[in-house]
């Protein structure tokens, strides 16, 4: 028998506290697979945010820190500058990054910090009960926008991959999604590329992942994936927004 797939050893046996169908589970798994395949377990340092993924240090057999709300890029800056040879991965959700921690991620990009940011965008505050986030789509109903988000009092969604990609300090910025097997594999390759750029000593590598939150959106997990394809990707188009030039 040849093993096609088995649970990566970088993941512990801890029961994941995510809801059924949560994109965090898929993305955690992809990061663990890459760390295992590239043999980076001894080198990797994960910085976890506040949010649904706050317990993720228990799921990984690698060194981890949990940062203050939104401050993961600041913590990552300190660790990466002190331990240049390690792989520093900053993992953030959209409420954590775009609301509380907008200043930290912007300045990490402006300074061209040499770590990788994995940004999980599910257009809602998942952990606290499905409130509106800066990334919530127009007209999207959440527990704090029961009539749907309106521009009059809540403004417009934020496209982080484009914003970070426009900064000179950013080496690589791409938006991917985890709504189908093909897109999940593309997501894995995008994260792998980001890790490679970091290990080559390049500037900030940023991967935004559009991810389902079935509980927050109030739909079944399979419907949540459909909704990403039909609606969310119109606001958050997939693509590479900053790619290194040839030979860089």
């Amino acid at each position: 028998m040849k093993t096609v797939y088995e649970r990566p050893k970088v993941l512990t046996d801890e029961y994941m506290k995510y809801c059924g169908g949560c994109g965090h589970g898929i993305i955690n798994k992809l990061i663990a697979e890459i760390i295992e395949e590239e043999n980076l377990a001894e080198k990797a340092i994960m910085i976890w945010p506040i949010g649904c993924s706050v317990y993720a240090d228990r799921y990984f057999n690698v060194d981890s820190v949990c940062a203050l709300h939104g401050r993961a890029p600041a913590t990552g800056t300190g660790i990466k500058r002190a331990l240049e040879d390690n792989l520093v991965v900053v993992y953030q959700g959209d409420g954590d990054m775009v609301s509380e921690g907008m200043a930290e991620i912007m300045h990490a990009g402006i300074r061209g910090e040499k770590f990788t940011v994995v940004f999980v965008n599910n257009a809602i505050y998942g952990m606290t009960g499905g409130q509106m986030a800066p990334t919530t789509l127009m007209e999207q109903k959440t527990s704090t926008s029961p009539q749907g988000r309106s521009a009059d009092n809540a403004g417009f969604p934020v496209n982080m991959a484009e914003i970070i990609g426009s900064l000179h300090g950013c080496h690589y910025s791409e938006r991917v999604a985890v709504n189908s097997p093909a897109n999940i594999r593309k997501t894995k390759e995008a994260i792998r590329k980001a890790f490679k750029y970091q290990l080559d000593g390049k500037g900030l590598s940023f991967v935004e992942i559009v991810s389902p939150c079935p509980t927050g959106w109030g739909v079944s997990p399979v419907k949540a994936l459909d909704w990403i394809g039909e609606t969310v990707l119109n606001q958050y188009p997939l693509g590479v927004f900053k790619a290194p030039k040839e030979g860089e």
Partner: protein, 70 residues
């Protein structure tokens, strides 16, 4: 015969594996609950399985192991 092993105790019934499996006869929901209160996915009719690994790719819990008979 190819083998699909599912850790039923950590399955959360998201149905991604059932939805994306290219062979619709293999994965289905069990009719009894696991300890956490979900109806977990189970694999049967494995003679149809082509060991593509899509069920394992989409599983958010990393609960599925796929082995190919060579």
């Amino acid at each position: 015969m190819n083998r699909v092993t599912i850790n039923e105790e950590i399955c959360k019934e998201c149905e991604y594996c059932i939805t994306f499996c290219p062979k619709k006869t293999i994965l289905k929901k069990k009719d009894t609950l696991n300890k956490k209160g979900y109806y977990p996915a189970i694999a049967e009719n494995l003679e149809d399985c082509i060991a593509c690994g899509i069920c394992a790719t989409v599983c958010p819990e990393a609960a599925i192991k796929v082995e190919k008979d060579v």
